[in-house]
Amino acid sequence: MSTSSYQPAPRSDAEALDDTTEKSGNERNVTSADAALAPELLVRMHDLMLKARLLEERLIRMQKQGDGYFWIGGPGEEAFNVPLGMLVDRGEGVFHDYLHLHYRSSATLLAMGADPVDALRQMKNVASDPYSGGRNFAGHPSIRKWNVVPVSSPIEVQYSMAPGTAYAQKRAGGHGITIVTGGDAGTAEGDFPTCLVWTSRPGHELPVLIIVTNNQWGISTAGATQHGEKRISDRGKAFGIKCMTIDGNDPENSYHQIKRAMDYIRTERKPVLMEAMVSRLYGHSSSSGANYVQEEADCLMTFEKKLEERGILTRAHIDELRAKYTQELLDASKRVREEAQPEGSTIYDHVFAETNIVGLAAAKSRATANGRGN
């Protein structure tokens, strides 16, 4: 597999800022260089990236060994997805962040604190799969207590739903934002401009971080053969939306840029369109073989090299960690293999909800907010 010729050079932070049509007072031209992250944060970020990568590799292995029917995931996006998950205001209800993710978001969930074993359970489609009870593919989570909206397979539909949660958040006050993410190919769907239109209505701008992780592929089709726009983020300009294209393969840069975008959205209550250039390291899905792609940049390798050079981590320590997580995930997958499949008789469960779960949760979060004078 060769990389496509579509190669928009990721801009530096300062250049990315120039993309924005206006600047608010609390912004400054930060760059990764002048705002080095604390070593503990870098170590934590690496730990999560490594774990996320090994989780995906375990899932791929499970599928290849017959412990699952289909794999799709996000190896290659860890340098963006981990910082994103670390920066999420996790919780339930409008005063926390809503996440409309897609099927390459496992690293974000791990960074939010998800148990990797749950991803294995969904792969094995066992009844204990907390995301769908064995109903959905791997990589299709749903976690209501963290506002993680059910991930579904249709491409881009999440961009049409995101304005709804954000509308509720803007009305409620507070600092909760909506985060929506998807790939570059999907921006050809009408849902993408729907999101741009609905989040930028004059006087009704919505607090949404609109993310496009650009791996320059749509299954087997190179982005450059289908898209004439120079940068996807340029599409936000017509709507007055702050736009940026960032290097999503650099976790420090991602952290800064996501934080900067989130700070703006949390306070200004307006959208940001962020295009993150990332790699796709195991192809589209198990349907395309799920084999490691040598030609694309590997963010984990690059980051580890950097941490070694800076003396923050040693190779020996990294190898030890890798061996430890590999073993843990292998052991977990063996346990999951023994867990029960859902009963066929349960297919009619939850076609209809008996109670207004989300309504009750909203009432609860309103009461809590009132209690703390939000």
């Binding site: 799969d129 769908s132 976690i143 739903m161 709804g164 609905w198 939850h350 076609v351 209809f352």
Partner: protein, 353 residues
Amino acid sequence: MATMVQAIRMALHVGEERLGVTDVFGEDVGPPLGGVFTATQGLKTAWNSPLDERGIIGTAIGLALAGQCPVAEIQFVDYVFNTIDLLKLAGGMSWSSNGDWNCPLVVMTPVGSGIHGSIYHSHSFDGMATHIPGWKIVMPSTPRDAYGLMLSAIKDPNPVMFLAPKALLRAKAAPGEEIPGEPADERQLSKMIDAPLGDRSQWTPQWPDTPDMFIPIGEARTVRKGRDLTVVTYGRMVAVCTKAAEELVSEGVDVEVIDLRTLWPYDWKTLKESIERTSRLLVVNEDTEVTNFGEHIIRRTVEECFYVLSSPPKLLAGAAVPGIGLADNLEHASVPQRAGIAKTMRELAQHQP
């Protein structure tokens, strides 16, 4: 004596005041117009959306997931077709997440022919809607039912599709079918809740004090008791079938007419009891006849009531053509008409095995 559209408006007002409705929105739903059929005039939570049906349904889902209580309007059901995958998403939210989430929203949309709506203002959606599991689907035929079904739709923790027969939106209630609390004088009601012509910026409606009168989802209504034949219908065809049935009285043919009111989950108990009593079934609706919801009713009837049937169950439905033609003759040839319904009723009632 409210019209159906006034009844819907009053129900939405009650929804806003007492049932937690947070958003009534869609194209031209907010001021100044208040809906192309005036269903949303004077409502405090009504707002105008971009002309984007996918955005409307998607935003309604997002609002619902955030614990709000949205009522979204698709201006004509003819324009809902590009949202079907989003409707599937809403309908599957609870099931796909194994009960983690629910998705409480109402989509209301005018359906059917009868106003010379031509190709793209005449579509039916009942067959399509009943093919999207996870939704409850209601379709009133009277203002009173519209009022009570809308309240139930708002209160339901699931997505509910409220299909409003557009030819009935301006039809008045029959005597005895009033909504409790509404003024008896229709002119008085109009003065209270219909927006004035011209500048409306200073206008506020005076809402009559109407009660929380829920018509339960899943309950059919027997419009006319009868001995010889069960007619199952809904929406605009209820009045047409009832009139056809009245015509046959003089011939000694006694037809039972059931208004299904809820298409899913439907009231099989009432249907089955009636079919077993009359031993004959006719289903009437406007939707295109192939893969028609009436075919399901007939299939179940054949499976469960086969040995009591005295005639083959029959479906009278719309012609399987791409749209309803504008000219009167075309429209009449496309959807069931009273004369044809009466003729079929007579034939079925007199059919001997």
